[in-house]
């Protein structure tokens, strides 16, 4: 108050007018779009949205339905294996089982092989944070500072590579697919690389720099649940070994739900599999390492094709159909209300 009033008189002379500027902004005259809601615009927008969503949804569902998919739950089929795995002291005993199935028709096109897990809470908060991205980038970091606990180091101080609950719980079943043609058994050629995201493979995961991989991981130890060290994940392919192993990378990209599937292999389209999987009898040979029964989980192996809208996921289509139906119904309700009111309105007019 004090300052304000004391400078007022002088200011009056300096500025001849205190009239506000005549600018569009200050006078609130900027161009604006003020849609007038009439019954025509409202109804047409509802019906247009409705029909658009319905058509998109229907085509999504149709395309999703055209997907061919084989899903086999093998958590119980290898019952002796699952029993064996319930006791963790048997971790180094091998256990194999095979699952047969028959394809009545050919599966044409690219065929993808997934493993699916149920009731595996990869989205639990403490699970999700239990990793060290810096370590996976190949940096020499002190993982004590990371959130890897309790899978950080062994008692003797040897750090785990890779550390954390995610890496430790990596899916380690090996699944091979065999085609039983007449009496001969042909192993279906599967691609184990090129399944991960480019950014993951090339930007987010790097091996520590060293002249060879085993020395790069010297001084570290494999996570407790692993059967072999990280630099032995793929001994055949240098570029698919260590942290840049596709199976590891895919596992490290945690799923948002407790039921999920991860891409495991792709069918290599050569020889008789050039067009996909021909009809006939097949066998999965599974090396059963991953225990799920302990936490009431299930695991599946899935063979599936993809279409333009992605894999076998009807959710998007259903969502579109649902909102399309809702918009259309609302449109009808508004029409009904409008028709009813229009009759009444004549009374109000004088």
């Amino acid at each position: 108050m004090k300052n304000k009033s004391s400078f007022l008189p002088q200011e009056g002379e300096a500025h001849p007018s205190r009239c506000p500027d005549n600018s569009a902004f200050k006078q609130q005259k900027l161009p604006a779009w003020k849609p007038q809601l009439t019954i025509a615009t409202v109804l047409s927008s509802f019906f247009l949205t409705g029909s658009f969503c319905l058509s998109v949804g229907v085509s999504l569902i149709l395309s999703a339905n055209s997907i061919r998919e084989i899903q086999i739950d093998y958590s119980d089929k290898c019952s002796d294996c699952s029993k064996l795995r319930e006791n963790s002291s048997n971790w180094n005993k091998e256990c194999h089982c095979s699952v047969n199935f028959t394809l009545k028709e050919d599966i044409l096109g690219d065929v993808f092989m997934y493993y699916g897990l149920q009731n595996f809470y990869q989205n639990h908060r403490r699970y999700v944070i239990s990793r060290s991205d810096a370590q996976l980038l190949g940096r020499n970091v002190n993982i004590q500072k990371s959130y890897c606990a309790p899978f950080t180091t062994y008692r003797n101080g040897t750090p785990m590579a890779p550390c954390g609950a995610i890496a430790n719980s990596m899916f380690n079943d090996t699944i091979d697919l065999f085609y039983n043609l007449n009496s001969s058994v042909i192993q279906v050629p599967l691609l184990k690389t090129g399944n991960s995201w480019w950014t993951d493979k090339n930007l987010k995961f790097h091996n520590p720099k060293s002249h060879n991989l085993s020395s790069a991981f010297a001084g570290t130890a494999r996570p407790p649940y692993w059967q072999k060290a990280v630099y032995l994940l793929d001994e055949e392919d240098e570029r698919n070994n260590g942290y840049v192993n596709d199976d590891l990378i895919i596992w490290m990209r945690v799923s948002a739900f407790a039921t999920f599937r991860n891409l495991y292999r792709r069918v290599r389209r050569i020889r008789q599999f050039a067009d996909g999987l021909p009809a006939g009898n097949y066998t999965f040979h599974i090396s059963y390492n991953f225990p799920v029964t302990k936490f009431k989980g299930r695991k599946q192996v899935i063979l599936s094709t993809v279409v333009w809208s992605g894999g076998n996921n009807p959710f998007l289509g259903i969502a579109y159909v649902f909102s399309g139906t809702a918009a259309t119904l609302t449109g009808f309700v508004i029409t009904a209300i409008h028709l009813k009111l229009r009759k009444k309105k004549t009374h109000f007019r004088k």
């Binding site: 108050m1 004090k2 300052n3 009033s5 004391s6 007022l8 008189p9 009056g12 007018s17 205190r18 009239c19 506000p20 500027d21 005549n22 200050k26 006078q27 609130q28 963790s88 009731n119 595996f120 809470y121 989205n123 639990h124 908060r125 403490r126 699970y127 999700v128 239990s130 606990a149 309790p150 609950a165 430790n168 719980s169 948002a256 739900f257 407790a258 225990p291 302990k294 936490f295 009431k296």
Partner: protein, 890 residues
């Protein structure tokens, strides 16, 4: 401190009371206390405290579901920005404190004038101020360079008024002059009230050489004023530094909150409860999940250290979810809302359609937080003078000794409308006439020229009985400084008719009567106030006659008249009604010749009363009443009060928007009603205009009930909703729902009746009746009553009220209403200073309410809806996801 006691020039004596010295400290912090104090203050704001709470939660590793810097970064940013702002503000305050405290002033120490810094001045010091100096502390004026020890001051910093005010010292101290010897020997003892914040009141006594003298506000120079047109003056420091009235007045302002604010507070509380509920559900969910699933999942994800049971995990998860769901509590909403309001108030400031070019005044949103409330106004309480009307007064008509002047008639006796062509009265016979004054009735000049005794007495009264200050910078160029424009108009009229008020001293008034200079001795001024509604002067003419001249409101003055003028009273009443019917403001003037003996007795008692410390005002008003009786009626004056531009149209538009307009005015009933008709408030289409003018509580009650009976007969039935409601809840103040009358009605209530109606048992009756009417006019109301009426409606109606006014008498009303609007007009600045919005013309109210208010409200509502939608959409997804992620606060 109950009473202040001090002695001039006696520091040792004054020191024992430990009065504050004159250094002021408006700064809050120093270098060391800044950080803790500022942080403490900032964390008192709920938003910051909430964030701090979240931060603490996040620092607990078992709970932290988000990394701690997501909270720290915004919190530190907010704290830093406000902290830096506070620091800069406080630095500036330090600077200005230092500057003010180090201003030089001359102090009388040991018989010598010494330059001293302001902060070293102490209570009881005598200081010398020169022209254009700021007043150092609250001073008792002792003497000045001007005749009669007058001192002119400008009080712009105190109340914003720029006109000069005059202060005058006691004669006994004025004698001290600038004689340092005498001033040093001056040892008067002052007893006065404790420091307070009333700018216009001061009571105290000065004891000098055994004599007691009364001290009042007229002798005080308050800190913050500036000395003008006065070469020098001496003052005795009474209050210093933080005790001064200026400092006592600074600070605490009550915050007005809008209904959206209150709604938001409720919403935030509800949301807090909702948050707690969500977290509880999720925590329980987590407990169950950990028990049924998580326990087995420990192969891959062991429980955190020191978590050993599912229920403990659930407990921790509750807090984790508090962190993760914190976005649902719209704390940042408060900040965003403030910013939007600030923007909207800038739009009000920038609006060219509310800019008044004539006095270069744009509209101003002085409070930036009330914009959206503008769109919700239901009741407008308007002052009349200066708000609906221009407050430009011109002397228009008068009635002298039973003869009415002012109308112009043609030869056949027909009254002629006055327009620009009408011939004005020629005042050239009077050298001192004001050329701007216009009057059309020649017969009045004739009467003056014919030396008609009552006419002369009439104008003599007008030139003597007032508080106007003349300024005569050049010979013959008189300018009047009037505190009320009515007085200015009357004195100007007298001046033009040949009774020129030329000069005033505290003891004399110089009047040039028909070219002949006469000096009247001014013996007493019986000043005006809202209760007395009249003022009188007692003067002794050069011939030695003692006369009391009185002017005032007709209702009051008529009761004081001598019975011999009953006949004249009737004629004058007729004229008065005529004047009031034309919307003119009227005053009645009367005089009385006094007996010498009686007067001497009276003036002695007056002196005693005016030096009394206790009950001074009561004693004085008793004395005034004693002498102001058996007056002889002289006549009446009528002053025209012009309507502002566009008032009727604005009122019509506002009424269409279903806003009820109440006019609260100090004017008399006829004038008020007339203004009501002329600005479309009342019209002939109304079914009835009720007039409540009962003079007892019962009368008022009956009048109110009768009015209500006519408007809504069923409101007396037992089946009426409100009556049922009353029966149920008998005592607590309740909200009365709106009632619909069976037509359009108006209500006029006088201040006298209003006083009864505002008493406890009639309150409800008044509210029910008045709120059914479209228009309510309260006339003859005091400023306090204005505030009471607003308070009444606020209390019983769930409605937003707006008060608009321009003068000091509207301040209380403006402060009481939800929104106060000040007209930056003629009557000074007090109304504007206490208002929330201000502009120059009543008609801008339409744009303020119907455009800015509506837009602000719509914008705010849209924003709030979006904000809540956003928060809930954002948070409920987390809630939902909890069910899929093992309630792990992911």
């Amino acid at each position: 401190e109950e009473e202040r006691q001090l002695q001039a020039n006696n520091r040792d004596f004054n020191l024992q009371f430990e009065y504050a010295n004159n250094s002021i400290k408006t700064s809050k912090y120093n270098f060391f206390t800044f950080l803790p104090l500022n942080l403490f203050e900032q964390f008192q704001r709920i938003a910051n405290a909430y964030f701090l709470f979240l931060l603490i939660l996040q620092l607990i590793p078992q709970i932290s579901s988000l990394s701690w810097f997501t909270t720290v970064v915004p919190l530190v940013l907010v704290l830093a920005v406000s902290g830096v702002k506070d620091a800069i503000d406080d630095f500036n305050r330090h600077k200005s404190d230092k500057h003010v405290n180090n201003r030089p002033v001359q102090v009388l120490i040991n018989g010598m004038l010494k330059d001293e810094k302001w902060m070293n001045i102490q209570v009881g010091d005598i200081i010398k101020l020169e022209n254009n100096n700021f007043v150092t502390a609250d001073l008792l004026l002792l003497s000045s360079s001007e005749p009669h020890s007058l001192t002119y001051i400008e009080t712009a910093e105190l109340d914003g008024e720029t006109n000069l005010k005059v202060k005058q010292a006691l004669t006994v101290t004025a004698e001290l002059g600038e004689d340092l010897q005498k001033l040093t020997e001056f040892n008067g003892e002052v007893k006065c009230e404790a420091p307070n914040n009333k700018l216009d009141k001061f009571t105290g006594t000065l004891v000098l050489r055994g004599e007691k003298y009364a001290l009042d506000n007229e002798k005080m120079l308050l800190r913050g004023c500036t000395i003008r047109n006065t070469e020098w003056c001496f003052g005795l420091v009474i209050y210093a530094g933080p005790d001064t009235k200026l400092m006592q007045n600074s600070g605490k302002t009550t915050f007005k909150r809008t209904s959206i604010d209150r709604l938001m507070n409720v919403l935030v509380l509800v949301i807090f409860a909702f948050l707690a509920l969500m977290c509880l559900i999720l925590a329980i969910g987590n407990g169950i999940w950990e028990y049924k699933t998580g326990y087995y999942f420990q192969v891959y994800l062991p429980w955190a250290e020191d978590v050993n049971s599912a229920s403990y995990s659930g407990f921790l998860m509750f807090w984790s979810y508090v962190i993760i769901l914190n976005t649902v509590v719209p704390i940042s909403l408060y900040v965003s809302v403030e910013i939007i309001r600030l923007g909207n108030s800038f739009y009000i400031d920038w609006d060219r359609k509310m800019y008044y070019p004539l006095n270069d005044t744009p509209a101003q949103a002085r409070t930036t937080t009330l914009n959206e409330e503008l769109g919700q106004i239901k009741y407008i309480f308007s002052d009349k003078t200066g708000t609906l009307t221009q407050n430009i007064m011109c002397f228009n008509k008068c009635s002298i000794n039973g003869k009415s002047y002012g109308d112009v008639y043609d030869l056949s006796g027909q009254r002629i409308e006055i327009n620009e062509k009408t011939e004005k009265v020629d005042f050239s016979y009077n050298q001192l006439a004001d050329p701007k004054f216009a009057f059309y009735d020649h017969s009045l000049v004739e009467a003056v020229k014919l030396n008609d005794v009552p006419t002369h007495r009439f104008f003599r009264l007008l030139s003597l009985c007032h508080t106007v200050m003349p300024e005569e910078k050049k010979e013959g160029n008189l300018v009047y400084q009037a505190q009320s424009p009515d007085e200015g108009a009357l004195v100007t009229a007298a001046r033009n008719f040949g009774f020129v008020f030329r000069a005033r001293t505290p003891e004399t008034i110089t009047v040039v009567e028909m070219g002949e200079t006469k000096i009247y001795k001014l013996l007493a001024i019986l000043d005006f106030n809202n209760v007395r509604k009249r003022m009188s002067v007692i003067v002794r003419s050069p011939e030695g006659d003692l006369t009391l001249y009185c002017k005032g409101a007709d209702t009051i003055l008529y009761e004081l008249l001598h019975s011999s003028c009953d006949a004249l009273k009737e004629e004058t009443t007729e004229h008065l009604n005529e004047f009031a019917g034309e919307g003119l403001r009227t005053l009645v003037v009367a005089y009385k010749n006094l007996e010498e003996d009686y007067f001497q007795n009276w003036i002695r008692r007056h002196h005693e009363a005016s030096t009394a410390l206790e009950g001074r005002e009561d004693k004085l008003s008793e004395l005034y009443e004693e002498i102001e009786k058996d007056l002889m009626l002289l006549g009446a004056t009528a002053i025209e009060d012009k309507l502002q531009d566009g008032v009727p149209q604005t009122i019509e538009t506002l009424a269409k928007a279903n806003i009820k307009i109440w006019v609260l005015t100090g004017d008399k009933q006829e004038t008020a009603m007339n203004i009501g008709y002329s600005c479309n408030l009342l019209d002939d289409d109304m079914e009835d205009v009720f007039i409540i003018e009962g003079s007892t509580s019962d009368d008022v009650f009956n009048e109110l009930r009768n009015a209500r009976k006519k408007m809504k007969p069923d409101s007396f039935l037992d089946s009426d909703e409100i009556n049922i409601q009353f029966e149920k809840s008998s005592k607590n103040p309740k909200v009365i729902p709106d009632e619909q009358a069976n037509g359009v009605y108006g209500l006029v209530i006088t201040g006298h009746s209003l006083a009864y109606a505002l008493e406890g048992n009639l309150e409800l009756e008044l509210v029910r009746t008045a709120c059914m009417c479209k228009v309510v006019i309260c006339c003859r109301v005091t400023p306090l009553q204005k505030a009471q009426v607003v308070e009444l409606v606020k209390k019983y109606k769930k409605a937003v009220t707006l008060a608009i006014g321009d003068g000091a008498n509207d301040v209380s009303m403006i402060k009481t209403a939800h929104i106060g609007v000040g007209i930056s007009g003629q009557e000074g600045m007090q109304a504007v200073l206490s208002s929330d919005f201000s502009f120059a013309q009543f008609r801008y109210l339409q744009r303020l309410l119907l455009v800015h208010g509506r837009w602000s409200y719509i914008r705010m509502c849209k924003f709030l809806k979006y904000f809540f939608y956003k928060n809930f959409a954002f948070t409920l997804v987390h809630f939902w996801y909890g069910f899929f992620s093992g309630f792990s606060a992911q």
